[in-house]
Symmetry: C2
Subunit: 435 residues, 2 copies
Amino acid sequence: MEISYVNNDQQMQLVPLTAITSLNKGLGFFEGALDPDGIVQLNWNLLREDLSLPSAVLYEERLQHNLDWMQQFITAYGLKLAPHGKTAMAPKLFARQLQAGAWGITLATAHQTQIAYAHGVRRVLMANQLVGKANMATIARLINDPSFEYYCLVDSAAQVEQLGAYFSQYRQRLNVLLELGVAGGRTGVRDNDQLQAVLASLSRWSASIALCGVEVYEGVLEEELAIRKYLQNAVEVTRRLLAEESFRRSPALISGAGSAWYDVVAEVFSAANFGNTVEAVLRPGCYLTHDIGAYQKAQTRILQHNPIARSMASGLLPALQVWAYVQSVPEANRAIVALGKRDAAFDAGFPVPALHFRPGFRFGDAVPKKAGEHWTVTKMMDQHSYLQISADDDLRVGDMIGFDISHPCLTFDKWRTLPVLNSQYQVMDIVQTFF
Amino acid sequence: MEISYVNNDQQMQLVPLTAITSLNKGLGFFEGALDPDGIVQLNWNLLREDLSLPSAVLYEERLQHNLDWMQQFITAYGLKLAPHGKTAMAPKLFARQLQAGAWGITLATAHQTQIAYAHGVRRVLMANQLVGKANMATIARLINDPSFEYYCLVDSAAQVEQLGAYFSQYRQRLNVLLELGVAGGRTGVRDNDQLQAVLASLSRWSASIALCGVEVYEGVLEEELAIRKYLQNAVEVTRRLLAEESFRRSPALISGAGSAWYDVVAEVFSAANFGNTVEAVLRPGCYLTHDIGAYQKAQTRILQHNPIARSMASGLLPALQVWAYVQSVPEANRAIVALGKRDAAFDAGFPVPALHFRPGFRFGDAVPKKAGEHWTVTKMMDQHSYLQISADDDLRVGDMIGFDISHPCLTFDKWRTLPVLNSQYQVMDIVQTFF
C-alpha cells in the first residue's frame, strides 16, 4: 500500500540539499561545498572578474522593485496574486513573493509542487492537469499534510475518473478547478457538453474530488477582444456554478493571467463584482525579472492603457542579465561571444547587449557603459553567439558584455545558481533553481 | 597571490556532490538522499509508472552500441577520438567513453573542464578560446596537477597576450592549438596575416604558452566541397608549421570534426599520411545518443558514402527518449502532452512520437507499441506540446508517449538526472549531468 509511507515525518525528509560546490556554472572558485551565506562571505564582485563567465545574474534592487510593483498592482484591484513559480523555480524567490503578500505560488507540475513544498510553500495552485501514477502519488503524499492547500485543473471526464480512482483509494480529498479552454487552444473544456461531462464525473467522485473554482489561461489567445470574451465566459460559468452550488470551497476561486495580459484579467475579474463569494487569483510569473522582449512589449501596452499601472511610479524593470566574454573578433564587423543556447533563451528573440565593460586593474573601465545600440546577436550556437558590430567599435577580446534577455523562463532553466548583485555588482546572495 | 591555493591537495576538494534527492525531475519517490546505486536498488520500471513523467531516459543497449561504433570507426582510420563532452556533460558517460578507448574528452569551457577534472578525466581538449580571469584561474589550478593534460585554442594575438600575461605570473606552461577559421564563420584566424600575428605573439610568450597543434571546426560550413578544402588547408598549415618547427609537442596535434562530418574529417586527416609526426584527434559528441533529426540525416549520408561505415553491422541508434503523459484530448485531432520546451530540444525540429504505452495493471498494454506515424508535434510551450492526431486514433488521457528527439545537447541540459533503462524498461543506472 502506497499510503503506508504517506505521513508527515516522511514529508519532512524532502529537505533539499542546499550545499553548492564550485562546479556550478557562473560562480567563482571555492573549496568544498558552501551554502549561499558562505558564498556571500567570499565577497565576489562581477567587475573584478571573480565570477567564471558566462554567468546569469539577478539585480537585487530591480528584483525588489518588480516584486513590490506586481503585488501593489494586484492588490489595487482587490485580487490575489499567486505568482507562477515555474519561471524561476527558485524557492528563495517564492519565499520573497509570499512575504511580499502573495496568496500562494502557482506551479505547472507535480514535480515543481514537490519542490515548493519541500521549501515551505503551503499553498499551491497547480495550473495544469495532474496525470500519471507517480505524479498523483507525489500529490497524495503532500496533501496528507493538513497544512498544505493544493489545487489542480480538470478538463475531461477521463481525467476526473483517473483522479477519482486514485485518490479514493486513500480516502483523500483532492481540490480541483475546472479549466475552460478555447477551440484551437491548449487544455480546457471547449463546449458545454465537455463541461457537463466533467461535472457528471465530479459528482460520481464527490467523496474524493472537490470542485473549488474555475480556471482559464488567456495566453493561448492573441487578441484583446477575444481574451475579454473568454474571460467574460469564465465569469459567467463561475456565476452559474455558484448558483448551482457546484463549488465545495467558499469563497470559490476564479483564476487566470499569464505575464502578458494580467491587466485585462484584473479588469474583467474585478468588474465581475463577486464580492465575498469568489476569490480571484492571478498568476503572472515573468514580472519578477521581466525582460526586454515579449514581456517588455506587453508591459508597454499595459503602461499605456491601464490606469493603475499608469499611476504607479515606474513599470517593471529587467532584473536578469547574462554576462559573457568576447572571445574573438575575427572580422571587423563580427565578434564571437562565449554565450550560447546553453546560457540564455533564444526562442523569443536573441539576447540583446545592454552593458559593456573592459575589466582590468590599470587599463580597464571603472563601471560598465552602455553597449552599442547597433550591436546585434545574429546567430547562436550551443556555446557561442555571433555579434554584429561596426568596424570602428572599440570591442576587444576579454571585454565583458551584459546581455538583457527575452523569455526569462527558458533562461532561468539553464542555471542552477544565480548570483544576486547589488548596484556595485557585488554578490549579495545566491539564488538556487530546481528544474 | 592566487597561486597560493593552487596545489594538488586542494584540487582534490573539487569532489562533486553525488547525492541525489527525489526532488530531481523525472525520478520516482524516495526519502532523503541516495547515490545512483542506491536508486537502482529501488527497482523502478518506466512501464510500471514508477517515474514521475516527463522523464528523459537513456537506453543502455543502444548507448553501448553507439559507444563502440564510433570508437571502432575512428580506430579503423588510425585516428584518435576525443568525444565532445559538452553534449551530455555526464561524467559517468565520459568514463565509459575513455574506457572504450577514447584519447581524451573534448569540452567547450573552463567550467566544463573543471567538472571533467573533478570526475577523474586527465586529458581535455578544450575546443574553444580560454578567456577571462576566473576562467584562466580555473585552468591554472587544474594544470598545476602534472597528470592533467590540457589544450585550448588561440586565434588572435590579443588573446595570446592575455594568456601569456596570466600564465607567466605563475610560471606555468599552457598548451594551445591554433584555430583556423573561415570567412563568415565562427572563431579561428581568417588569413595568413592573422595567423602570423598569432605566431608572433606566441613567440613573445614562448616561456608560458606552447603551440601544440592546429584545430578546425568544419561544422560552420554546410557544403562538403568547402569542408574538404578547409580541412585540406588545415593539413597544409600543419605541414608548414611542422617544417618550421613551430610545435612544442611531438607528435603535434591536428583536430577537427563535430557530429555531422566526422567521416570526411577522418578521410582527409587519414589521407594526409602524417605518420608519427602528427596525432589526429576527432571530436564528435552527439553520436553517444544520436537523434532522429539533424544527426540522423548526417548519418544517412555517412552510411551511404563512407566505406568503413558501410562495412559496419549497423549505424548509430537513437538512445535518448523523453517520455510524457497525454494530459488532455480536448479536440478530436488534438492531444496535449505534458512535455515542454523545459524538457526537450526544440531548435532543430520538435520531438517525434516513437512509442505509445497505455499503463495500467489490468487494462493496459504489456509493452509499448509504435506511435502513430502521423502523430506530429505542431507547437511547444514551456510545459506543453500540441500533438496533431487523427480523430480515430486510440489515444487517451494518461497514455504515455516516448518521444525521439532532435539535438541531444539541448535535451540533456534540461535534465540533472537521467535514468538508464534496460530492454525491459527497468532502471539500471542513473546518469547525472553537470551544466
